[in-house]
Chain length 195, copies 2
Amino acid sequence: MTTIHIPAREGRAFRVAAGQSFRVIDPEGAQVADLFAFVADDTTEWLSAEHTRVAIGRLFPRVGEGWCTNLRRPILTFVADHSPGVHDMLCAACSPSRYQLLGAEGHHASCEENLQLAMSEFGHEDIEIPQPVNIFEANPILANGDIGIETAPTKAGDSVTLRAELDAIVVVTACPQDLTPLCGGTPSAIDIELL
Amino acid sequence: MTTIHIPAREGRAFRVAAGQSFRVIDPEGAQVADLFAFVADDTTEWLSAEHTRVAIGRLFPRVGEGWCTNLRRPILTFVADHSPGVHDMLCAACSPSRYQLLGAEGHHASCEENLQLAMSEFGHEDIEIPQPVNIFEANPILANGDIGIETAPTKAGDSVTLRAELDAIVVVTACPQDLTPLCGGTPSAIDIELL
């Protein structure tokens, strides 16, 4: 079994073959993992939150459901959830403009830049920036329709398991968000286990 | 005042200057208008539902709010609403794959192809396909978290007014969806008034 350690505030890309499963683990707790996936031999086809919402008819994902691409093909199946079951499919990845608007001074690591760097190391310099599925991210819908921002409810060792339905390049980033409560104020690492 | 008539199942692109307003009108009622917007001099910057949800902190838009781009700059402001106020910011545009999955035989017009055709007529052959803002589209969130599909509640003549905050190319498509209740089973036209 291969383990990929993603240090706090960084991202990593890895290949998975159709049928292969992997776990996304929060080793310390209260950490969000932004997840992107691209079809291995055509990166213009990618995991799409907006097409997945239509496919599953829900705001948030549940075990047993397929997550689909912008061509509506299942690319990942949500196989198991050993966490409180809170994941986001509504919010864009954090990006330089997000941190600028939040008042950060100078450069701030972001999931968008982590994605671009990880994909460029796989030879893909010029990709679209899909909306990720934000594993462990708590954005509850409040009674008045507002989208809340809460700290990820994960404990150390919580995980989700996903199975690839297509040969894919998956990117996971350990979200560097430290200016909202999402990661409890202290971004930490994420581990991947290729099963 | 210029009026642009968008026949049922078709789309049109038009330019608006920063500061210019336009109305999106449902002339017959029960019709959805998928709306896209691109920065006029750089079409890699576009109206982004996923960034707008973060910016407004809500699932659905309200009058007075700005809709922003993938660089989090306001591109349109939602100025006035003369409709029941139901608009969607959750669902991908209908596309060939959507109609295939719904069982359509042969070619079926779609908002995605309408967008591509309208933009190609403006010289932009190779654009990203953003998730649109679906004006008048009723996708209520049900108590169990499911996303409903209902018929647009508009009456003939209902409209929304938007103001451009950047020079933009806007694309509106009269959604050809006739295999779900969205447009009441009979897609009809949309009119645009440039103010």
